[in-house]
Every structure is written in structure tokens, then in C-alpha cells.
Amino acid sequence: MAEQKVGNPAVVGLAGFGLTTMVLQFHNVGWMGIGPVVWLGLIFGGFAQMVAGLQEMKTGNNFGYCAFTAYGCFWIALALLLIGNHYNLYVSSKSDIGWFLIAWTLFTAILWVGALRISGALALTFTLLLGGFVLLDLAHFGFPELTVVAGYELMLCAAMAWYIMAHLIFADVFGRDVLPVGKPWLRAPAAPVATLKVAGATA
């Protein structure tokens, strides 16, 4: 019996990450209210991305497992922070949110290093994400006008996430790589290291 083809959970993770990030930025630059951000944050950016993340475990992809599950939880936490602030439940001040964002910035910096070894498109996505978090940190500690700058910057990040999603989906439907993701910014170690390994093995 032929084995059934298994889908790649990353397409859902990237979809949820990209769409919710996009909608939040529509809010941050002042185009729309916060309502859709809360509900999409809970369901798509949160629940769906987190489930996609958990499904990454079976594919053996630790990067996707950690990133999608964690950013899914980020969205659920963010939506609950907004709901809590609305209903006077554990109200968070502006600096509380600032520290929350700083923790996520540090976490993102770790994944950013990993992304540099995966593909050019992912490296760009995480560079934009890290940059967006840094701008939002600054926006919460004395430079509120940077919220809008972060908004446009993170729209590019969301678009990049969708680009990688499209790369995976189109490669599947068209049977060839329509949207290349590019070589990783950090290449695999070249000859000298391999030589050392061989030398070590023979010694």
C-alpha cells in the first residue's frame, strides 16, 4: 500500500503568523481598530499556528516546532493581555507590555541565528521580525512614534512569511519551485572544517 502523502504544517503556521501579524500592523499604523486583531490573534495566529507548531514535532523539524508553537502562544497571550486590559483583569501597563516584548525580542534573536542557516527568505523574515520587535521595545520605552515605523516594517515581515508559505504551496501544486527561497545567509562550513573532521577520525 502506497504511503499517504503528508502535508507540511509550516504552510498553516506561516499563514497564521503572516495574516495575524499583518492585521496587527494595520491596527498599529492606524488603519483599523483592535477587534479583529484580538479574535484572529486567538484563533489563527494563536490556536492554528500553535497546532501547526505541535505537528512539526513529527516532521523532525525542531526550528518549526519551537518557532510556530512559541509564536502561536505569543498571539494567544497578546490577545488575552488585550482582553484582560479591557475587563480589568491583571491590567498591564505600557511598560509591562514593553518588558513582555523585550522577552520576545531576546527569544527571537536566538531563532534569528537559526534562521540564518536555513534559507535566505527565512533569514530575511526573522531579520525583519527581530527589527520589528526592537522598534516596538523602543516604542514602549520613550519613543511611541516608532509604533508606526514598526507597523510598516512588520508588514514586510508578514509578507515574507507569506512568500515562504507560497513557496511551499506552489512547489507542491506546480510541481516545481516557482518562488525560490534563496541560499542561507550562513553557509554550511566549507572544506577546512570537513578536513579537520576527517583528520580527527583517522587520528
Partner: protein, 186 residues
Amino acid sequence: MRARTLMVAAAAALAGAAGFLPGIAAAAEDAASPEEVVAKVGAASRFLNEKGASGIAEFNNASGRWVWKDSYVFIYDCRLDRMVAHPLRPDLVGRPIMQITDNNGRLIFKDLCKAGGDKRGGWVEYLWTRPGAGGVSRKISYALGADIAFSTGLQVAAGVYDDTASAAALAKLTDKMADPAKYPAH
């Protein structure tokens, strides 16, 4: 002062016929002071800082703690161009504010946002309806930023209805209240 007395008298004569005289008389003798306005606006800003978005609803209550004598605190968002809370004008809540002008063509909220953008807040004079009075009065309002999570352009303001006070004189008062040591009593 004379203009206001005349106007109040005229309004009272008109309203008296309609049976509203007691309300107007009470408003005229019980006017909020600039010191009260600064204290209320400061308290409102701190209250919002503590309560976040959950504190906003209270400012829409016409009989709540943010309405006193002939004054009241209102909240608006300078970045999203929106009235966030107003105890006496529910029709304005959620509506754009930047295009609102007084009878002299002054863009009221443009000036309020500029004044409130200062760290210590600021005063703006314009024409607005005084609660309980007919027609418009000269109003001078104190605007101050409110630092709350998930929002960058929120300000709170309240005003006095006064024909003589100037924004410059009241700015001195605000400085004095913020830093009493710099202004000895004698």
C-alpha cells in the same frame, strides 16, 4: 465677564420661560477652578495608566466622578483621530475629532493634541457649550497625555469656562502645581 453675565442672563430669560432656570442658576454660581481642572486631569491620567482600557468606560458616565460642577474630563485619541469618551456628548464618542472647529474656526483638537503632547500638558482656549448654558462660552482646557498599554495617542482634558484667564497665565499655574519648590509662597 460682562459678556458672560449678559449671555447667561439672556439664556436664563429664555430658559426660565421653559422652566429650566434653577439648573442654570446653579451652574453659574458653581464654576470649576483651574486648580481643580489640573487635579482632575492628572488624576484621570494616572487612573487610566493604572486601569488601562478598562478604565475608559467610567468617563462616559454623566453622573460619575469625572463630572463635577460645570466641568468634566473627556478622553480622545490624537493618533487615531477619535473621541474616546465624553460624559456629556455621547454623540461624539467614536467619531473623528481633528476636523472639529469652534465658532471662530479654530481646530480645537489639533491645538489640544499639541498642548497635551507636552510632558506637563498644556492649556488651549476655544469656544464650547457650557453644561447647562445656552449658546457657546469661552472655554479654556487643560490637556495631558495618558500613558496606557496598546495605545499611543490618548489624551485627557477638562476645562474652565472663563472670559479672562489666559493660556499663558494658566501655564504658569500648571508649572507651579507641578513644582511648588520653584515658586515660594512669599
